[in-house]
């Protein structure tokens, strides 16, 4: 099957290309030019870019099918132009056994939508006590190991887990939040939480945990990806760690470069997120850190929550927001605010996360997997429950006017979504 995408503005952040032209696809890969395509897509006036790669999207299976199903969320992914996604292990049961990982991959593959990269649990049942069989989980398809949002309190176990992962070259992806300092907290510890009477999580809950983790990386040389930074202090620590040459990378969730604790307004439970939205200063430091490259990647941190989980007082509401379908428009909004080129903007959701994930996708080079998003960067989009394919309608951006609509999504050369 030969596919020609013609006349589009081809933006390939990995090579720096940004020019009107054609993209050729043959046998599921980007190819050199050919003369007789089996199918042609006219992308005139649209952007043709590598499909987006999301380093954190919860699909809610197994265990939380009432919140979302693999099918609903995979439809949401491709509607958002996301062609590869990594899913955290906090399912029920958690992804701590090869059989579970294998089944998830098969079920995802059968849906023929986006590529799913499971992240295995670092410890059995995410309980922070016993290491999982990382070797067998990796064989089953896990690309990294993580505790998802479950804190690993025991630093002895953390140290050993990093040593073990480093022995075999596995990547460890970790959130950083000191569980004691975050205990009972539901919002950033600052004047907004004080006003609203919400128990706070201080920013130093993040920097203290990050300090511990970086010291352990220094000792073990484990490859560590730090997930969902939320504070200005953590951005500066990551800057220094990278300068020092530690094998670390990091990402930020798409909400954190746009929102801050003030957006909680009158107790909007859609702003109940983990980590919490912090101050305006933190938000600006995160947006800038992502622009200057200290933060490698932008992810949706897609977490569909059912209505019952959000129709609760703020502190009792379940944390998380839906995000797969907002990744592109919110990335574009961030890039525009920082005056970045389209290529620079898209790099944070294409080639940069691809590097962290260790995949060959995320680029339009000849021979790369033909995972492609074709989108209209100016198309207006009013965020509403009806407009979202995800089963989760929970987002602080409800009612926002955003720009950027995906028209066609291609995975391995096959059209998996058309608007």
């Amino acid at each position: 099957m030969k596919l020609l995408i013609k006349n589009g503005r081809v933006v390939d952040p990995a090579s720096g290309k940004d020019a009107v032209g054609d993209v050729f696809v043959a046998d599921g890969r980007i190819s050199e030019s050919f003369s007789k395509p089996d199918k042609t897509i006219d992308a005139k006036g649209l952007v043709v870019a590598p499909g987006f790669i999301d380093l954190s999207a919860r699909l809610r299976e197994p265990g939380f099918e009432y919140k979302a199903t693999l099918e609903s969320e995979m439809n949401a992914a491709v509607a958002g132009g996301v062609t590869s996604l990594a899913c955290p292990p906090d399912t029920d049961p958690p992804l701590d056994e090869p059989g579970l990982v294998d089944m998830l991959r098969r079920r995802a593959k059968a849906l023929e939508r986006a590529r799913v990269y499971p992240i295995g649990a670092l410890t059995v049942k995410l309980q922070g006590e016993t290491l999982t069989e990382m070797g067998q989980l990796a064989d089953a398809g896990c690309v990294a190991f993580s505790q998802a949002n479950v804190a690993l309190r025991d630093t002895q176990v953390l140290w050993r887990a990093l040593q073990y992962a480093a022995t075999f070259g596995f990547s460890v992806w970790l959130r950083v939040e000191d569980a004691w300092l975050a205990k009972n907290g539901v919002a950033h510890d600052g004047d907004v939480a004080t006003r609203l009477g919400l128990p706070g999580i201080p920013a130093f809950a993040e920097t203290i945990a990050l300090g511990t983790l970086l010291e352990l990386v220094r000792a073990t040389r484990a490859r560590v990806h730090v997930c969902r930074l939320s504070s200005a202090g953590a951005v500066e620590m990551m800057r220094a760690a990278k300068k020092e040459g530690l094998p670390v990378s990091c990402d930020v969730g798409v909400h954190y470069v746009h929102l801050c604790d003030r957006d909680i307004g009158f107790f909007d439970a859609n702003c109940r997120l983990d980590p919490p939205l912090r101050s305006q200063r933190d938000r600006d430091a995160l947006a800038q850190g992502l622009a200057d490259g200290v933060i490698d990647s932008l992810c949706s941190d897609h977490t569909p929550v059912d209505e019952d989980g959000k129709h609760l007082p703020f502190g009792e509401a379940e944390a998380g927001a839906t995000g797969l379908e907002l990744l592109l428009p919110l990335a574009l909004k961030w890039g525009a605010a920082r005056k970045l080129s389209l290529g620079q903007t898209l790099s944070r959701i294409t080639c940069e996360p691809a590097r962290i994930l260790g995949t060959a996708s995320g680029r339009l080079a000849s021979g790369a997997p033909a995972d492609i998003a074709i989108f209209d960067p100016q198309a207006p989009f009013r965020v509403s429950a009806e407009a979202l394919k995800s089963q989760g309608k929970n987002t602080p951006f409800l009612g926002y006017e955003l720009q950027g609509r995906v028209r066609t999504t291609i995975v391995a050369g096959n059209v998996v979504y058309e608007a």
Binding site: G190, T194, R195, G197, L198, G315
Partner: protein
Amino acid sequence: MQRDPQLNANGELQHLLSIEGLPREILLQILDTAESFAGVTEREVKKVPLLRGKSVFNLFFEPSTRTRTTFEIAAKRLSADVINLNIAVSSATKGESLLDTVANLSAMQADIFVVRHGSSGAPFLIARHVKPHEHVVNAGDGRHAHPTQGLLDLFTIRHYKKDFSKLAVAIVGDVLHSRVARSLIHGLTTLGAPEVRVIGPQTLMPSGVEALGVRVFHDMKAGLKDADVVVMLRLQNERMRGPLLPSAQEYFMHYGLTIDKLALARKDAIVMHPGPMNRGVEIDSSVADGPHSVILPQVTFGIAVRMAVMSIVAGN
């Protein structure tokens, strides 16, 4: 940012959820209305027919004696039917959700929901889901707000001091967990009190509290100096000994209000407490029962203030 959910499209009080954000005019309207009701409570026949035929549901998800009782008395003096629900020992323990509980009561023709809940913001959630003719009055939510207590505190201060514009008010104790303190601070700053102080150890001060417009003191003597009004906050039993404080005795030593410490305030200072008091922990009996104390009048004023709030929201 959405419109303040406690005001209707005409800017009138639809619900009373928080003192924060309420215009000065509405605060004064409530205080003036309460003034007019203060007389009713002294009459032999203590009833006015303003809420005749209306139903007031007292929805208490947290235990309360004083607040619930004064709301009940206030509603009855307005001739409303009052239904008390102690949810802490009924539906919630059966797993019914907050909104389901409210929807069921709404089906029983409620007009006013008086809500106390342990989670900050719970009355806002309820207010977003009630019918247009129904009103929500916050009777205390988590650490967030206790607006009728704040209003009765303001009423008490105005009663004794007349004018807010020259007052120094000192609020002493567990500000971190206190919805009473937050509501009073917002009320005082809105009505123009020039100096609002909060006094307590760092462990009981919420971060960024200065942003509410207060000065923070850790030394009680410095904080009480020349104060016109001293408001003592209740210290919950479970917080007297643990990571926040070493013991009730040591707390009393530093922050308990004694006659000696009170002598640093102005001679005509009044002493307030939202109750229930821990004698010998935050306040010495000689002060609680002494000439500066207006703690019992506060309770009486609370009835008039709650009558005012319910009659105003029901009329809008």
